[in-house]
Amino acid sequence: MLPTYLQVAPLTVVLTLFFVVPVGLVVLVSFFRYQMLVGIVPDFTLKNYVDLLTNPTTWTLYQSTLKFTLIVLAITFALGFWIAYFLVFHVRNLLTAIGLFLVCTVPFWTSNIIRMISWRPVLGKEGLINSALLNTGVIDQPIEWLLYSDFSVVVAYVHLFTLFMIVPIFNSMARIDKSLLEAAVDAGASRWGVIWNVVLPLSKTGIALGALFVVTLVMGDFFVVTVMSGGLSGSATSGIFNDLQFLNYPRAAANAVILLIIVLLIAASIFRLVDVRKELVR
C-alpha cells in the first residue's frame, strides 16, 4: 500500500500548499471584519457578502465582465477555429503547418503589457488609423470610440487571448483521422457538412479547453480593461482591486470567493457539455 501513497504524495503536497491552503485562507478572511484603513480584524461576520450582494455596483461590474467574456469568447472562437482548421486541413505540408503555427506565437515573444499598450498609438485620436482616415479625407473628425471604449478593450482581449483558443483546437483537429473526412465526402457530404458533422464534433475538447482558458483569463482580468478603457470601464476583478486599495481585504476576499464560484460554475457547465477526460484519452 505504501508505494501508492508515496506516488500521490508529491502532487498532494503541491496541491495542498499552493492551492488548498491559499484558497482556504481567502475563504477564512472573507468572513473577517474590516477596520477602516487598518485591515483585517478576526471576527466572524457575513457583512462582506451581504455588502457585496446588495450593492448594485457589484452587479454592474459582473454584468460588464460577463458581457466582455461572451463577446471575446465568440470572436476568439471564430478566429481560433478557422485558423486551426486552415493549419490542419488546408496546409498540406506538415513542416509549413508547424512553421505557420509558430508564427502565431510570435506576438507572444513580447510581454502582455507591451502588446496591449501598443494599441494606444494605433487607436488614439492622433493615432495611425485616425490620421490615415483624416489624411485621406474619409472622415473630418477623429473617431473617438476607437480608444478608451469597449471596442478597444475587446480588441486588446482578442489580440491577447486568441492563441489560447488556437492551440487546443489545433491539437484536437490534428488528432482527427483524415480518412474520416474522405469517408464523409464519399458518402456525399458537402464541404460545410463535413465541418459541421465531422470536424466540429471531433474538435469539441479543444473548443472546451480553449473556452475555459478565455473565460478564466477575461473574468480574472482588471488590468487590460482598466488600461484600454482609460479607467472608464470596470470588471469584477477591478472591484477586488479597488477594495485592496483601501486595505479592505475581507471584502476583497469575499468578492474573490464569489468570482471563484461563478468561474467554477461556468467551468462545470463547459465540462458537462464535453467530457474532456474521456476525449483526451481517446
Binding site: L37, G39, T60, K125, G230, G231, N242, F246, L247
Partner: protein, 428 residues
C-alpha cells in the same frame, strides 16, 4: 556625464566637512565615543519608503555618498504605504508619508516622536508646517493642513497635539500646490477656473485622477466653482455632499465628458502629450515630463486657488540606538539643500527654502522660487529642456503660489463612504 560628476564631487567635499562637524557634535551628545560610533554607523542601512514622486533613487545615492551610511529607496503607492506601515512596519525605517496618511499611521503607533531639538534647522523650516502660517498670514485649514498633524505631546504618545510642542510626528518633506494642467495650444480659450474641468466646452477632452481622496477634491473644486454645489468644508465633506458630487461625476461620465480616468503618473503624461485630453487634473512633475517631450503644457493657476499637499518624513517606531541616530542624521541632511535643489526642478518645494535656493543656480532660483523670467534654458533633473529663456513659471513665485492654497489633500471622516461611492463612479 563627466561634468556632472565633477559638480557632485565638488559639492560632496564641501558637504563632507559639514557632515564631519555634525557627526562629531552628534556623537558626543549621544554616546561620548565618536570613533566607535562613526565606525559602526557605516554598517547602518536606512530604508526610505514612499510614493514614486518623492522617493527618488537619486536622493538615496546622494545621501549615501554624503552621510557615510547607506540609504535605500523603496517605492509603493498610496495604499501600499499604509499597508506597509500597519502590516509590516519593520520593513521600512523612514516613511515618506503624505500628511493625511499620518492620520492612519500615528494612531496605529507606527511612528515614534521626533525630538525637535535634534533637528538642527527646524527654525528655518517653512512656517506652513511648523506654525500653520504663510507669509505672516494664517494658511488654509480646509482639509488636512500640515500644521494640524505635525506635533505630538511626547515620544510615545501616538496622537496629535493641538499646538506647538517639543516633539514631531514627522519632519517636513516636499510639498506643492496642485492645479489643472492644460494644453494651451488646444484649449482654444482662456482657462481661469476649476469649473473649466467640467465645462461642456471640453466634453470628451478631459480626464480626472482616479485616486478617490484626490479626485474628489478636484471634483468638489470644479462643482463649487461652477456653482452647481456648495460645501460646508471641502476638507471634510458630509455624506450628502459626497453623494451629490459623485452623482454629478457619474452624470458627466455617462455623458462622455471624461476621455479617461488616470491613476498613474505616466498615464496622465501620455494622455496630455498625445492630445487625447486638453485639460485634466495633473501633478507638477507630469507637466514637466510633458514639456520635456517638447509639447506645450501649462500648470494653470486658477482663481479659486490651489489644492495643497505635503509630505513628511516619519521615523518608524522600531528605530533605536545607532539606527535612530542615523535617521536623525538623514532628516537633517534631507533639509540641508541638495534635496531641495533637486526636487525644485521637478516643480516641488523644499521645506527649507533657504538651503534649497542656495543649492540652485541664480537662474534656477529666480525661475523656480522668485517668479522671475528665466535668463537661460531651464532643464529637468534628467537634463531635458523644459523652459526657454524668458519664460516665467506658471503660478509665479513661491510666495504667490502658496498664499493661494484653498484646500489641502485629506482623508475625510467619511472616507469609507467616499471609497464606496467612488467605486460606483468607476463602475458606472
Amino acid at each position: 556625464m563627466k561634468k556632472t560628476g565633477g559638480l557632485l564631487n565638488g559639492r560632496v567635499s564641501r558637504r563632507s566637512v559639514l557632515k564631519g562637524g555634525a557627526a562629531v557634535a552628534g556623537a558626543t551628545a549621544v554616546t561620548g565615543f565618536p570613533m566607535v560610533w562613526a565606525q559602526n554607523l557605516k554598517d547602518v542601512t536606512l530604508m526610505h519608503t514612499g510614493m514614486s514622486y518623492s522617493t527618488l533613487p537619486d536622493i538615496a545615492r546622494q545621501a549615501t555618498q554624503d552621510l557615510g551610511f547607506k540609504v535605500e529607496m523603496s517605492v509603493v503607492d498610496h495604499p501600499g504605504l499604509l499597508n506597509r506601515l500597519v502590516q509590516d512596519p519593520k520593513s521600512l525605517d523612514i516613511a515618506d508619508l503624505e500628511i493625511w496618511q499620518s492620520k492612519v499611521a500615528v494612531p496605529q503607533g507606527a511612528l515614534q516622536g521626533i525630538e525637535i531639538a535634534k533637528i538642527k534647522n527646524w527654525g528655518e523650516l517653512t512656517p506652513l508646517y511648523t506654525e500653520g502660517k504663510f507669509g505672516g498670514k494664517e494658511a488654509s485649514r480646509q482639509g488636512d493642513s500640515p500644521f494640524e498633524y505635525i506635533y505630538r505631546e511626547g515620544m510615545d504618545t501616538n496622537g496629535f497635539a493641538g499646538g506647538v510642542t517639543e516633539w514631531a510626528n514627522f519632519c517636513p518633506g516636499v510639498y506643492n500646490a496642485d492645479t489643472l494642467g492644460i494644453r494651451p495650444d488646444l484649449v482654444g480659450r482662456e482657462i481661469s477656473s476649476w469649473a473649466d474641468l467640467i465645462s461642456a466646452d471640453f466634453k470628451g477632452k478631459t480626464a480626472i485622477q482616479n485616486i478617490p481622496t484626490n479626485g474628489i477634491m478636484d471634483a468638489m473644486m470644479a462643482c463649487e466653482s461652477a456653482g452647481l454645489l456648495t460645501y460646508g468644508d471641502k476638507g471634510n465633506p458630509t455624506q450628502d455632499e459626497l453623494t451629490a458630487t459623485i452623482a454629478k461625476l457619474i452624470e458627466l461620465k455617462k455623458d462622455g465628458h471624461f476621455r479617461a480616468l488616470w491613476s498613474t503618473f505616466d498615464e496622465s503624461v501620455n494622455l496630455m502629450a498625445s492630445g487625447e485630453v486638453v485639460i485634466q487634473s495633473m501633478w507638477s512633475p507630469a507637466v514637466t515630463a510633458v514639456k520635456a517631450q517638447g509639447v506645450k503644457c501649462v500648470y494653470q493657476p486658477l482663481k479659486e486657488g490651489y489644492r495643497g499637499w505635503g509630505n513628511g518624513l516619519g521615523m518608524l517606531a522600531h528605530l533605536e540606538g545607532l539606527k535612530r541616530d542615523a535617521a536623525y542624521e538623514y532628516l537633517n541632511w534631507y533639509n540641508s539643500g541638495w534635496v531641495g535643489g533637486f526636487i525644485a526642478k521637478q516643480g516641488y518645494y523644499s521645506s527649507n527654502p533657504a538651503t534649497a535656493m542656495a543649492a540652485l543656480s541664480e537662474n534656477e532660483r529666480g525661475f523656480f522660487y522668485e517668479g522671475k523670467a528665466a535668463t537661460a534654458d531651464i532643464t529637468s533633473p534628467t537634463g531635458e529642456k523644459t523652459n526657454s529663456a524668458g519664460e516665467v513659471r506658471d503660478g509665479g513665485s513661491y510666495e504667490e503660489r502658496f498664499s493661494k492654497v484653498a484646500v489641502w489633500n485629506n482623508l475625510p471622516d467619511e472616507a469609507e463612504f467616499l471609497y464606496a461611492k467612488w467605486n460606483e463612479f468607476n463602475a458606472a
